[in-house]
Amino acid sequence: MSCEEPTTSPTPENNITVVSSDGKEFLLDLKLTEQSETLARLISNFEYDRTDVKKDPVPLGNITSAQMQKIIEWLQHHRYYPKWEQNDIHYSTSFTFETWVEEYLNIPNNEMFELLNAANYLNIPRLFSTICRIMASRITGKSAEQIRTVLNIKTDVKNDVYTGIPIQEDSSSSEDGMSEISLSPSPPPI
């Protein structure tokens, strides 16, 4: 399915404001939020789809403005796709991507990881699945030794000879820098 239909400008009646972790506000058309389970549920719970309800800005404390911009780009492109589905098992396993997706995800690995975490947090199944497939495709056709190099794993787990407890870990897992996204946003006051 493609998104050939014209986009409509958000109006105060059909949009919400989300606030990124660095304090930047984004005006988001309610139609776009249908791709995100987290946002769609939040809007439903607070009845933000009603015109007579006051809509407070939604803080997204785990998503930076750069990530939010990237996500909005995805949501705009998939505006007229079916909305998110719970337990969507019909995800593709193909490593072939449309040109737009290839261009969209032609970003450094660390940005892709952050975007994956953001897609996971906002629960945008199509974006989440696409990034996972892109990541998997970067491993495909490689030997164990090559994967070790790609993933930058230098050591294996070694157990302490006395306790049997692992004393070394894969180097890549000990690296810092990955933001932890685990908590849902605090709901805005009504």
Binding site: N109, A136, R138, K142, L151, D170
Partner: protein
């Protein structure tokens, strides 16, 4: 992704995306990933992969075939060179794409255990033991049961020993290299000049009559009543 791109810090990801990425991988890539480190192996195990069957053929090389789906296999060919570590050649079938890998600490039974753990199997569907293994007891300890075993034995006592070792079994086929001269004489006395004795089971009736069940071909058996 450019050349100067930082490495994929896959293992830094939370569990949900990490497991989903592994689920998206090809079977052979999942297998390769499981060999990288203990954590990678645990990760692959955590996505609950299964397979339809595991077959082992022990000849000059050891061939472990994993039937993932009706039309997708992984073949792990092990070269148990006694001077060096077991060298493995892993391929998918029918594509025949794959990689070679040597894990110094892995013996044949470790490779088998790795595969069984990865696919959450405890049973082997068929073993062809046509050449002796370096450590048959360790090999046996890697799985709980085997549906069918076919083996060559140098003597009847070895055949009995192997049969006991691999029990419980649903089906047993074996061939004994050294034919018992007394048995052959008995065959010839009975008028069977060209007897080829493949070993088998003895059945004894209450009246003392003994019959030997033999399996000279895959498709039929012989019962010789003495």
């Amino acid at each position: 992704m450019s050349d100067g791109d930082p490495p994929l810090r896959l293992l830094s990801l939370p569990n949900t995306p990490l497991q989903r990425i592994v689920l998206c991988m090809q079977h052979i890539d999942q297998f390769a990933l499981s060999l990288v480190s203990q954590r990678c192996k645990d990760l692959v195990k955590s996505i609950d992969l299964t397979c339809l069957a595991v077959y082992v053929e022990v000849e000059s090389k050891i061939n472990i075939r994993i039937r993932i789906t009706d039309c997708s296999w992984i073949k792990c060919l092990l070269n148990d060179d006694r001077a060096t570590a077991v060298k493995s050649e892993v391929k998918t079938l029918p594509d025949r794409e794959g990689f070679a890998y040597s894990k110094p600490e892995y013996r044949v039974e470790d490779w088998l255990r790795h595969i069984l753990e990865m696919y959450h199997q405890s049973e082997i569907d068929r073993i062809h033991l046509l050449e002796p293994l370096r450590d048959v007891q360790s090999f046996r300890d890697t799985f709980t049961s085997c549906s069918t075993i076919v083996f060559n034995a140098r003597s009847e006592s070895e055949a009995v020993e192997l049969s006991r070792m691999f029990c419980p079994l649903k089906k047993l086929e074996f061939y004994v290299y050294q034919k018992d001269p007394k048995t052959l004489v008995a065959f010839r006395t009975a008028g069977i000049a060209n007897a080829q004795f493949h070993g088998g089971y003895n059945i004894r009736k209450k009246d003392g009559t003994v019959a030997t069940l033999s399996f000279p071909r895959y498709c039929h058996f012989e019962m010789l009543v003495w």
